[in-house]
C-alpha cells in the first residue's frame, strides 16, 4: 500500500498547470494574428473560447480554495497566482480583439518580436507550474522570465519609437499603440506570475 501525503492539496498543482497550459494555447493562437491571410473573425472566436476555458480553470481554483481546509501555500498567494495567470489570458484576448475592432490592416514588423517573447514566457510558465509541487528548480524560471520581460520591454520601446517616427497617421498610431500596450501588459502579467512564484518559494524554503 502506498500512502500519499496531503492528498487534498495535490490538485492545486494540477489546476495551476492547467491554467498555464491554456496560456500556451492562447499565445499560439495570438501568434497566428501575424499571418496576414488568417481569418481574424474565426481567430477572435477561438481566442474567446480559450479565454472562457481559462476562466473556468480560475474558478475551479477559487472554488477549491473555498472548500479546502489545508492549502499547499497561503490562500492569498493562491489567489494572486490564479489571478495573474488569468490576467495574462485576458490581455492576450484583448490584443486579438483590439486588432479586429480597430480593423488594423498591417501590424508593424517588430510586433513579432514581442509575440515571440510572450510565447516563450508562456511556455516557461507552463513548464514551471508542476515544479511548484517540489519547489525545486524554480529560480532559473523566474530569472529567465525577468530577462524575457526586459527583452520585451526593449522591443516595446523600439516599436513606440517607430510608431511615433512620422511614418504613421495619428489615428493609426493610437490604434497600434493600444495593441502593443495590451501585449506589453500580458508580458507584465507573466512577470507578476513569476514574482508570486518567487515569493511562495521564499516562504516555503
Amino acid at each position: 500500500m502506498r500512502f500519499r501525503i496531503r492528498p487534498v492539496e495535490t490538485t492545486f498543482y494540477d489546476l495551476f498547470a492547467e491554467s498555464a497550459s491554456h496560456l500556451v494555447d492562447g499565445a499560439n493562437l495570438l501568434a497566428q494574428v501575424l499571418d496576414p491571410d488568417v481569418d481574424r473573425t474565426a481567430l477572435a472566436e477561438q481566442m474567446r473560447d480559450a479565454e472562457h476555458q481559462a476562466d473556468e480553470t480560475t474558478h475551479k481554483i477559487v472554488k477549491r480554495v473555498n472548500s479546502t481546509f489545508v492549502t499547499p501555500f497561503d490562500r492569498e498567494d493562491i489567489y494572486r497566482l490564479a489571478s495573474s495567470l488569468d490576467d495574462v489570458m485576458d490581455f492576450m484576448e484583448e490584443t486579438v480583439d483590439l486588432i479586429g475592432l480597430y480593423e488594423i490592416k498591417e501590424l508593424p514588423a517588430q510586433f513579432a518580436a514581442q509575440v515571440e517573447v510572450l510565447q516563450r514566457a508562456c511556455q516557461l510558465t507552463a513548464e514551471a507550474m508542476p515544479r511548484l509541487r517540489t519547489m525545486k528548480d524554480l529560480e532559473e524560471y523566474w530569472i529567465e522570465i525577468n530577462r524575457l520581460e526586459n527583452q520585451g520591454d526593449r522591443s516595446y520601446r523600439r516599436i513606440l519609437a517607430d510608431l511615433f517616427g512620422g511614418g504613421y497617421k495619428s489615428l493609426e498610431v493610437l490604434k497600434l499603440k493600444d495593441v502593443v500596450d495590451s501585449l506589453e501588459h500580458a508580458i507584465d502579467a507573466l512577470e507578476s506570475v513569476a514574482n508570486t512564484v518567487e515569493q511562495i518559494a521564499v516562504k516555503e524554503s
Copy 2:
C-alpha cells in the same frame, strides 16, 4: 438586558456602508453629465465634494484600524477594501473632471450604457456592505458584479470600435478614449471591491 458581542468592531461595517453609499451618490452625479443641458462646472464641484466626503470616510476607516486592537477581519483586507472603494470614487471624479478639462461637447451615445453599469454596480455594492456583518448572501453580489463588469467590458469595446471607426478626429478620439478609460477603471475598481469581499468571505467561512 441584551449583550452585544465584540461591540468595538461593529463600526467597521457602518464605515464600509458609508463608503459605498458615497459611491451611489457619486454615480448618480456622474450620470447627470449625460444631460447636455447640465451645468458642468457646478457638477464638477459637487463631484469634488462627494470625493472629499469619500476621502473622509476612508481616513476614518484607516484611523480606526490604527486604534483598534481586534478587527473583524484581517487588517490588510480592511485596507484593501477601503482603498478599492476609494478608487471607485477617484475614477468617477476623474471622469467628470476630464469631460470638463477636455471641453468635450457631446458624449457618444453608448457612453450611457457604461454609466448604467456603473450605477447598478455601485447600488449592489452599497446593498452588500451591511451583509459583511453576517457574511451571508454575499456570493450573489460578487457573481453579479463580475457579470456587470463583463457587460461593461463589452460596452467599452463597442465604444472603442466606434471611436476608431473614422467618424471622429484624432484629437477627439484621444479625449473620448481617456474618458471611457476612466469610467472603465471605475468599473474595474468595483470588481476589485467584490473580489476582496469574496476573499474575506472565504477566509471567514
Copy 3:
C-alpha cells in the same frame, strides 16, 4: 560592552535607505531633462545606470529576505516596499527614455511643476526610510507625500487641459501625454511606498 538587539535585521533598514537614495539621484537626473541644452543621449545613459543600481539594491533586499529567518517586519511588506521603490525608478527612467525615443523638442512649461513634486517626494522618502528602524515620526512623512501627490495630480490635470487645448498637433499630444503619464505613475508609486510604510507602522504599533 554594548549589546545590539536583533543585529540581523539592521541591514534591511540600510538597504531601504540605499534604495530611496537612488531615487533622489534619479529624480535629480530627471530634472536635467528640463534643460533644453542638456545632452539627452548621455542623460538617458546615466538614467539607465541609476536604474541598474536601483535594481541591484532591490535584488539585495529580495536575497536577504530569502536568507534571513527573522525579518524586522512581514516578508510581504518588505517585498511590497522594495517593489514600490523599484517602480518609482522604473517610471523615472521610462520618462527620460520616452522623451528621447519620441524626439520631443520642447517640454510644456508646467512639466517642471510635476518634476518638482517628484524631487521633493523622493527627498522625503529618503529621509523617512532610516526612521523605519524606530518607527517614529513617520506619520508626517506619509501625510506630506499624500499632499504632494494631490498637488502633482492637479499639475497633471492642468497639463492635460493644456495639451488638449488646441495648441498641439495630435501626434504631439500623444507623445507628451505618454511622458506626463509616466511621471504621474512615478508619483503614484511614491504614494504606494508611503501607504506601505503607513501599513507597516500600524501593524508594529
